[in-house]
Structures are given as structure tokens and as C-alpha cells.
Symmetry: C2
Subunit: 364 residues, 2 copies
Amino acid sequence: MNRENYWKTVCLMDIEKELQENRRLIDSIIKSKFPRNIDSSYLKWLAGDTSYLYDLEVVQKTIFDPMWDLLSRGGKRWRPWLFLILANNLGVDLDKFRDLVTIVELLHNGSLVADDIEDGADIRRGDKAIHLKYGLDIAVNLSSAMYFMPLRILMEMDVSRDIYRRLVEAYIEDMIRIHLGQATDIGWHRGLRDPESIKVEHYLQMCANKTGVLPRLAARFAAILAQLSPENEAKIGKFAESIGIAFQIQDDIINVIGAEKLGKSFGEDITEGKITLMTIYTLSRASEEDKRRLKEILEMHTRDRALIEEAISILKRYGSIEYAKKFAKDLVKKSWENVESILPNNEYKEKLRSLANFMVEREF
Amino acid sequence: MNRENYWKTVCLMDIEKELQENRRLIDSIIKSKFPRNIDSSYLKWLAGDTSYLYDLEVVQKTIFDPMWDLLSRGGKRWRPWLFLILANNLGVDLDKFRDLVTIVELLHNGSLVADDIEDGADIRRGDKAIHLKYGLDIAVNLSSAMYFMPLRILMEMDVSRDIYRRLVEAYIEDMIRIHLGQATDIGWHRGLRDPESIKVEHYLQMCANKTGVLPRLAARFAAILAQLSPENEAKIGKFAESIGIAFQIQDDIINVIGAEKLGKSFGEDITEGKITLMTIYTLSRASEEDKRRLKEILEMHTRDRALIEEAISILKRYGSIEYAKKFAKDLVKKSWENVESILPNNEYKEKLRSLANFMVEREF
């Protein structure tokens, strides 16, 4: 199979099977740049010439072992896949630029390590959270190491200085955003604001930053490499941000209605005291008694099943699940309309639309 | 006072007074870009256009309040000062580029937040460590936010695409290194390696990455803006790395001989089980009994005064303090000889040499 057919085959299978097949491909790319086992010539590539001597064994144990432990546990890899489809759609040469998927996926996994520390989560993808398995110190350092190591890819990229600057600026802007989103989410968990005063617009901004940013970055990378205008880059970025938000809304719905396929236990968001579109909607229309009780349970950070189910029944009482479902679907629909005319008509365009719909149709 | 005289005055006062005066200057630059109190137009500058609405109050409380709490507590600001002196020495236009000090200082303070979490430290600069005062979640997020926010400065910098790429690559490479250094230090604390098998060359590499990297970055920024060749940039970077290592060795000596001006309690390094040049030297020549006992106490992570003093007396017994002092002085001397011919002869050159010497002469 020649290269061109290879990429087409990868991107045009049935959607769930495709995500699975794609996972193998993405992981093989990551592994080619960030191997499971490192040696000193590798560290020279990664971090440049050094004056003295690395303790290879310890770097292996404190960075590469826990990183690959996490990567091996699964994950959909849909963010890098979004990059691949969009790049194909826009005619980007993937033989030259495919390594960029590494940036998107490592950033995502690094952010999961931080998320779990910040949320006090026990489990990630069916195994102990990294900070519990390897220690808080290793996890904190690993998380931000994964924000920087993949940029090595950018350093060796053969692109014009102009494209280079645009890629770097997309990265910087989006990494700033992800921290603002996380800060907001943390502040809300901590009760720094009365949940009743949080508006839908606040929620969407938090979500855009927290969950929309990495698909947005993946999409902007593809648009920049295709040399689209900054205006069209922004539109495509906005589309990806929107499907990221929709993905999060769907994730929150799944958490409430109880799927367990994500390796997350059902109702965990109630325990975390998480503010979701459903809680905001409910707080905007529930009776005083229901409002008071819902806020009370969210503030408890409880693991008590009866209390969790009581909170969920309040959410259900006001139709917040249907509201959130419709909201996510409308968001995807509208965001698609905004990019439809920019994207060239080819087989990848349809695939992209399927991915967008998958975000709000999936049940795992 | 005209601009030129202003910068000269700032950089040519007596060294300790200069560090103090310089602090005010650096902080006013930081404040002009990262104010204590933010508004929505500020967040637009920082993170770009948004689709929805920020929760300003919560971002203020979770990022800007703890960041300024830490910055206001003190610190020598010698890394940004190194940038300013070197830039002056090399003829860089500081009216145009002075904002770069922000990057160096925010990176440093972000790394302190992470350090304190990783080391389980209670106190930083005479007040509670950030993760204890504001919470682990806020601290973890703040730490890496401070690695990215100052890059906004880079985005608006009016430099050639070539200079831009060199600045970004220095940043990426050094941020990767800092995480490798931290990973190594953590692994050693955790006993992932028998302290006896750690060589001086391993220690110096860890230290180059952990403490040498930020002065190195400050120096490389100045060298790149002065359009020095990559070779000379590397030499000046190596000089800065060396004085960073010397700074660390001196810090470790101070911790053992007991100064308390840093807001650190005496002997804390013994409690942390920290591997220093002094421990490596002692383990390479102590009696079997002293080796065994020193390792035993380091592994205890004890706060018991008698045990801490016993460990220190073993370190003293083999002359490791004198060894470390001489090592640091020789390192500074040699590193100076390697850049002396590159640096133009002007008043800032002498100042730079004084700073290098200050690293190994200081007692706080």
C-alpha cells in the first residue's frame, strides 16, 4: 500500500473501529519519538548537549515509566485523530507533519495527571491515578514535563519561520487558556462562588478552556500547516472548541446517567461538587427547597450512594438532562454550519462531521 | 535622567544594594504585564478572544492572588538581573526588550511552587508554602500557569522570525531540562538509587538542570537578542549554568552551616534526604560505619534535631564543606575564563564578574 492510500485507509473506516485502529497508529508515532525505554543518545536529542552525566535509570523511572503506564491504559485518542482528519481534509502532507499528533496527545495526558491531583481522583482509566501509584512529587513533575517534551517535535519541524511562529503562538495561547479554565473549575469546586450565580456563559467559557482547548489546538495546527488565513484558522479552531465542549457536556451526562465504561465510577461528579450545565440549569429553575438541597449535597463532597442519587434525582426532576443533550447537539450543529463552506469537499469532510456527531451520540 | 543613564545607574550600584534596587525595577516590569488585579480586557490580552464569559473573580483568586502573594514575599531576583546586566554588556536595547525579565522570574517562581509540593515543604520565604496556604489544586495549576503566562510577552515581541525561533527554542530546551533535573532530584529523594552510586558528574547534571537552567535561559535570551552566534550563545549559557550550579552548592552549604535568612530552617536538607555535593563527597571517603549512619539518617526524613546534627557532624568530619566551597569557587573561576574573551569590555563586564563571585561568597 502506498503512503497516500495508507492515510486514506486509516481515516475512512467505520467510526468506532476507526478510533481503535487509529489508536495503534497514534501510539506508534508517539513511541517513535517518546520511546518506552530511553538511552543517553535519546536524552541528547530530547534536551540538547549536556556538560555532565544523566542518571538515566532514575529519569526512566520518574518520567518514562509512569508516562507509558498512563498512555498504555487507553484513551480514545480522538484529539490527534481530529488533527489527522482535518489535515487530510485540508491537503496537509502528513508524511512530513504527522509527528504533531504527539504534541496534542501528550498535552492531553499531562493534563489528566494534573486533573487527577487537583480533583483528588483515585482512579484513571481503570487503574490507580498516577499520583497515587507513583507519588505526588513524580506526578506533579511528570504532568508539566509532558507539556514541554513534545515541543521537541516542533524544534525539528521543517516549516517556514512564519508557519513556525503561528504554530508556537497557537500553542502558547491555548496552554494559557487551559490553565485559566482549570483555575475556574477549581475555584468552583472550592466554593469560591455561589453556584447559583454561575451563568451558562461562564460555564461554557470554563469548558471551552478546559476541554475545548486541546481539540482547538489540534485543529489550529492543521489549519496553520495548510496555510489557511488567520480568520479561517480561528473559525476551524472555534469548531473544534465547540465539539470539545459538546464532548464535555456528554461526559457529564454519562456520569449522571451512569455508564461505567470510562473507568470512572457513576456519580463521581456529584462527589467532586462539580458544576455542570445540568446543575446550572437546575439551579436556575428549581424550587427553593430543591436548590438548597442540591447545593448542600454538592458542598458535602460525599461518597454516600443515597445522597448522590438524591442529587441526581433533583437534576432529573427539572429536565436538565434533556436540556444538556439538546444544548450539546445544537452546539455541534451550529459549529458545523460555520465551517462547512471553508472545508474542501472530499471524503474527510464527511468523516469530520461524523466525529462531531459522535461527540454527542456516544455512550462511553 | 535619560533612559540610557537610568539603566546604567540601575546596574552599577554596590552589589547587595543593587540587588535590592533591582528588585523594585523587576517587580514594576512584572506588574506592568501581570498586574495584581485583573479585568476582562486584561484576560483578552493574556489569552486572546473568547466566545463566552470569564469568571474574573475566581481567576483572580486562584491565579493572580496566590502568584502575587509569592512574588511579594521576596526573592533576590538575580536571574532577571543577570539578563539585564548581560543585555547591557552586549548592547541589547532594553527599552525594547526589558519585558523578557518577566519570563525568567515567573518561570522561577512557578518552579518554586512545584518544588515545595514535591518536597513537602511547609515554608517558603518566611510564610506558608503556596499549596498549604491556598490548597494543592490551586498550587499545582498555578505552578504550570506561571510557566506559560509570561510567554505572552514573547508573542508581542518585535523581533525577526529568526531571533524569535531561537528564543522559543532556548525556552523549550531549557523547560525540558528543568523537568529532567527535577525528576532526578525526586528519584534520589525517593531512594530510587543507592546514594553511594551517585557520582559527582550525576550530581552536577541534576544541578545544572534544576538550578542552572533558569540563569542559562536568562543568559541565552540576552545572547540571542544581541545576535551572537549559536556557539557564543552556548558559551554564555554555560557560564550562567555554572554560576547557577555554584549558587546551589552555596545554598546547600548554607543549609548545613545554619544561616536562617532564607526563610528555610537549618538542616532541612537532611530532613528531605537531599543528595548534595557534600553527601556524595562524604560517602566516597567515609568509614563504613559513618557511611551507613549518614545514609540511615537521610532515609529517615527526620525532623529530630539531634539526628540532623549527627548527620551534619559526619559531613564535617570528612572536610566536605571545604571541598564543596572550593569546588564552587573553581567552577565560577573556570566558567568566567571561558567567556571573558567574548564579552565586550565595559562597566557591565566587571559587574557580571561580581555577580558570579557573589554566588559563592554570599551567606544568605
